[in-house]
Symmetry: C2
Subunit: 390 residues, 2 copies
């Protein structure tokens, strides 16, 4: 996801929020991962917005994308320049209305924003895991989120939603813990990572491991592989936009100059944008987390769950009401992939609606303020909530 464009109406924000932590899977009760490895203890960083009602029937679970985190809405302090990454969607009166719903968002397992990941201390060595961190899958991320729900005493989730890799978690939740999910909105996502999406992730990973500072993942306390991670991020940003979006946003406009430099400086605005995004990213993200999380996304194939080998069979395990949303200009997870998903959901008898939202911003569109998207999400969650209350 690129810049998080948000409404700047602070009065509509959830306001001051706090990052919380939950630790579980203490040895010898470590969590068994899909790879067969065990991991523990595990900490998840999470945030909540709104108030849990007495019968705990108003829970909305938000799942973040590749480089997102638990900070989905609000501000940590008055001096924060930006609110959480989906502040335009989550808040009082917004698409996910915190006046009505209790919203939970946690940083994924394998991440680097407070949840256990490769930069966390390995209790066996007292040093960061690095490449000794075990492989995690989307299923493992969901398993950890389930433990958090148990900890919060939540047995039913009214609605869950997430875009991109967040959408993969939504889908995984619906088949892994079907009895817990009443409704789900996977946005700008896919039920299996395509060759093209794998290709972009693989090149990004190669950019990181090509950086000598990466040092086989053992760089903590030394020099970070910033150059490699920056290139990886630049690749990502190209995939988050679209040909059309780039043409509108940058075209061939030059950056602070009248004519070509005839040097290897920045000439074009698009070059400046990409370099800036790369440089910003390395300040907040861990390169090893990037490697692990992209691989988890690449491994994602919902039909691999319980070896169904069939989208229809795997969705037969689900019982949630679905609203699937794709975006016209998204070429990372194009609409046809959402249509395939919807077709399989219908064939397996699920209640599903589908909407392709007109948007010029490419894959990033799911994060942008968009009245149509906001209305869709508000309407969907409200209808499920009302139906449940009747």
């Amino acid at each position: 996801m690129s810049e998080y464009i948000t409404h700047d109406t602070a009065e509509k924000s959830v306001g001051k929020v706090e990052k919380k932590f939950f630790t579980f899977a203490e040895p010898p009760n470590e969590m068994l991962l899909d790879s067969g490895a065990k991991l523990g203890p595990i900490t998840l960083a999470y945030e909540t917005y709104g108030t849990l009602n007495p019968d705990k029937s108003n829970v909305v679970l938000v799942l973040h994308a590749l480089t997102g985190d638990s900070h989905a809405a609000g501000y940590y302090s008055d001096s924060d320049e930006k609110p959480g990454w989906w502040d335009n969607m989550i808040g009082p009166g917004k698409g996910v209305d915190t006046d009505k719903y209790f919203v939970v968002c946690s940083n994924v397992l394998g991440g680097c924003m407070g949840s256990t990941g490769p930069s966390s201390i390995n209790p066996a060595t007292g040093k960061p895991y690095g490449m000794d961190f075990p492989f995690v899958t989307i299923g493992d991320m969901v398993r950890a989120q389930k433990a958090l729900m148990d900890h919060l005493g939540i047995e039913k989730i009214l609605s869950m939603l997430g875009g991109s890799m967040g959408g993969m978690q939504v889908l995984q939740w619906c088949v892994q813990y079907p009895e817990m999910v009443r409704s789900a909105t996977p946005l700008a996502t896919t039920m299996r990572h395509s060759a093209l999406a794998i290709a972009f992730n693989e090149v990004s990973r190669q950019a990181i491991v090509a950086d000598p500072n990466w040092n086989q993942g053992d760089y903590y306390g030394k020099k970070n592989p910033d150059l490699g991670l920056s290139v990886a991020r630049m690749i990502g940003h190209i995939t988050y936009l679209s040909d059309e979006a780039m043409r509108r946003k940058f075209g061939r406009r030059l950056q602070d100059k009248e004519d070509f430099s005839y040097q290897f400086d920045v000439d074009f605005q698009v070059e400046s944008y990409l370099r800036h995004q790369g440089a910003k990213f390395v300040e907040r993200f861990d390169a090893n987390s990037f490697l692990y999380i992209t691989k988890a996304a690449d491994y994602f194939d919902l039909t691999g769950f319980k070896n169904t080998s069939s989208a229809i069979r795997v969705f037969s395990m689900a019982s949630a009401r679905f609203m699937v949303v794709s975006f016209t200009s998204d070429w990372l997870y194009p609409t046809y992939q959402s249509r395939e998903m919807v077709k399989a959901m219908k064939k397996s008898g699920l209640d599903v609606s589908f909407c392709e939202v007109e948007a010029e911003w490419g894959h990033d569109a799911f994060l942008m303020p968009n009245k149509r998207l906001t209305d869709l999400i508000r309407g969907f969650i409200d209808s499920v909530y009302q139906h449940d209350s009747e």
Copy 2:
């Protein structure tokens, strides 16, 4: 361009060919470049196939893409595993019929396959130019090719054709030396490099300069920036294919294994393919040439020629007959960009035909054996030749 898939019918090949060299622009008569810098002496490596007829009216000029070279057809020796890069198109009885036409192809200025480029010896220092090599543009490449035509005594070019960056040179030729070009076929190309295309090139360049072995371009005789160049090539290969092509070619198939490795090894075939392409490329290409040539492509905007700022005005300088060809699945230079070009050509009164060829292979399609493309090119060149002979 990815693997050069060629017909394996050796009897239809032009057979044994030889790389030749032409040196010009000796000091003090150096060539003035678009940047204002001067360069000389300049050597161009080139090859010819077929026989020049007595009135020199059967010349076909082939222009190569980013990482191509002068070796467009035939074999250097009996032990060559592969023929030149466009052997499926150029040869006796083929699309560009060497029984009728005299074909010339030269390595671009700035290249690394025999023509003067950053890896050439700088006569001022006795060492490779490295980053002291001056910037070259598509216009400069064409200027050097014009010198080669003069050297060969060729005043009129019956037809010129080229794909991708070769197509940019075709377009440039038609406005820079309009009196010399009778007909032209730009394939899978654009009249101005888009923000998306610039973005991919910029990330590729950043991957190279991030490699410490790049050493500000001063790596000759030391360690080459192979890891950076390899990542750059991998990025390129993604853009040469399409979502559809990747799905058909690789899908989510695993490479030599039954299940996920849960390691950072190659799992998927597409990963293996990309790593292989990266590793192969560094054996044949110079990283600095990659930097210079991609920048030349990024600078390419035909409407910048003589500051016309208008596609219609710039094409008014041309007089060639055009056949513009795009490919359905090419998302690097999509069909709409060819249509814009064709529209401007028509408005400026040129004789132009346009064909969008159905092809699933993405941008790479222009290099693949394709009967429709072969027939189009054969028909176009023959019709111009017959018209001229009448």
